[in-house]
């Protein structure tokens, strides 16, 4: 018997609760994303990861340093040499089907890779935030030391770095309106959301 536990679970920020936003910049949570950390063996100097088979199994390009790639609502973010974060919408089948359905795509990935590879589901470990609007970069810049100017950190740029002293993965996903996706440890999510909301108050 499969028990559907979806009604009982809570996302780190309680789902769409964090929509406290101003016109120039909006913050909200993207709950229930499926997150997988993928590692493919490299040489000590970080080169030589064999990505071809995994990319065809994924149907998604594994981006090179400092970049993210996307296909519709699916995202792959470069975290380090041979190290990527995959971010996908939750599949209904996996959510309802228990562990086996949940693990199936991961097993498929590992089979495709063949060589020394690891794929770990980290969905429960992270909250996913989205910060969007003309002043989004200005808000982030209050607590982030990397250069967020659009010439340097435009769409498809990504970095694993710190925002407000919290460890985050940051990617610029937006087109017309600058949009940043922020992956943060669940235990830091409430702190970071409150920090961002506070930093946003001056852009009312």
């Amino acid at each position: 018997m499969t028990v559907d536990l979806r009604g009982l679970r809570r996302s780190p920020l309680g789902g769409p609760l964090v929509t406290g936003s101003v016109q120039a910049v909006r913050l909200h949570e993207l709950p229930w994303r499926t997150l997988i950390e993928l590692r493919i063996a490299t040489a000590p100097d970080g080169s030589g990861a064999q990505t071809g088979a995994v990319e065809s199994a994924l149907g998604l390009e594994l981006p090179s340093a400092g970049l993210a790639s996307s296909d519709g609502d699916r995202l792959a973010v470069w975290l380090g040499p041979g190290w990527w974060l995959l971010d996908e919408p939750e599949s209904g089948a996996a959510a309802a089907g228990g562990m086996e359905a949940f693990e199936a795509p991961i097993v498929q990935l590992l089979r495709a890779a063949g060589g020394p590879t690891s794929a770990v589901d980290v969905s429960a470990g992270f909250a996913v935030l989205e910060l969007a609007g003309p002043r989004a970069a200005a808000v982030l810049a209050h607590g982030c030391s990397i250069d967020l100017h659009p010439r340097v950190f435009g769409p498809v740029r990504a970095a694993r770095t710190m925002v407000a002293k919290a460890q985050v993965v940051l990617a610029q996903t937006g087109g017309v309106v600058p949009t940043y996706r922020i992956w943060v440890r669940s235990s830091f999510a409430r702190y970071l959301a409150e920090w961002l909301l506070d930093a946003m108050t001056e852009y009312r």
Partner: protein
């Protein structure tokens, strides 16, 4: 605050990194044959130059990779950063490299 150039991620603030002491200290080929004095020298004794110094850093908040940095211990200028296993600038190049004006070692 240092700006340290990670070979993979580019320049980032020092707060993103962990320090790993002197670089290019080779692990003894056969540790069981090393006497106590040599083992202590391997474990505990490091150079402490006034000038260019090859040291290890780890990009803790970024790619989490170890790499090597050539840093001037007086001026904090960073001359190079390179992945482990790669040849850094040799000793000749380092001693010939000019320290920034006003801080010659």
């Amino acid at each position: 605050m240092l700006r340290i150039p990670c070979p993979w991620c580019g320049p980032r603030d020092e707060t993103e990194f962990a320090y790993g002491s002197q670089a290019h200290i080779a692990y003894p080929v056969d540790p069981s044959t090393v006497d106590d004095a040599a083992w202590a020298a391997y474990l505990f004794f490091r150079d402490n130059p006034r000038g260019w110094f090859a040291e290890r850093w780890m990009h803790r908040a970024g790619c989490q990779r170890w790499f090597n940095v050539i840093r001037h211990t007086v001026t904090y200028e960073i001359a190079a950063s390179y992945p482990p296993g790669a040849a850094g600038p040799g000793a000749d190049a380092l001693s010939a490299a000019e320290a920034p004006i006003g801080h010659r070692a």
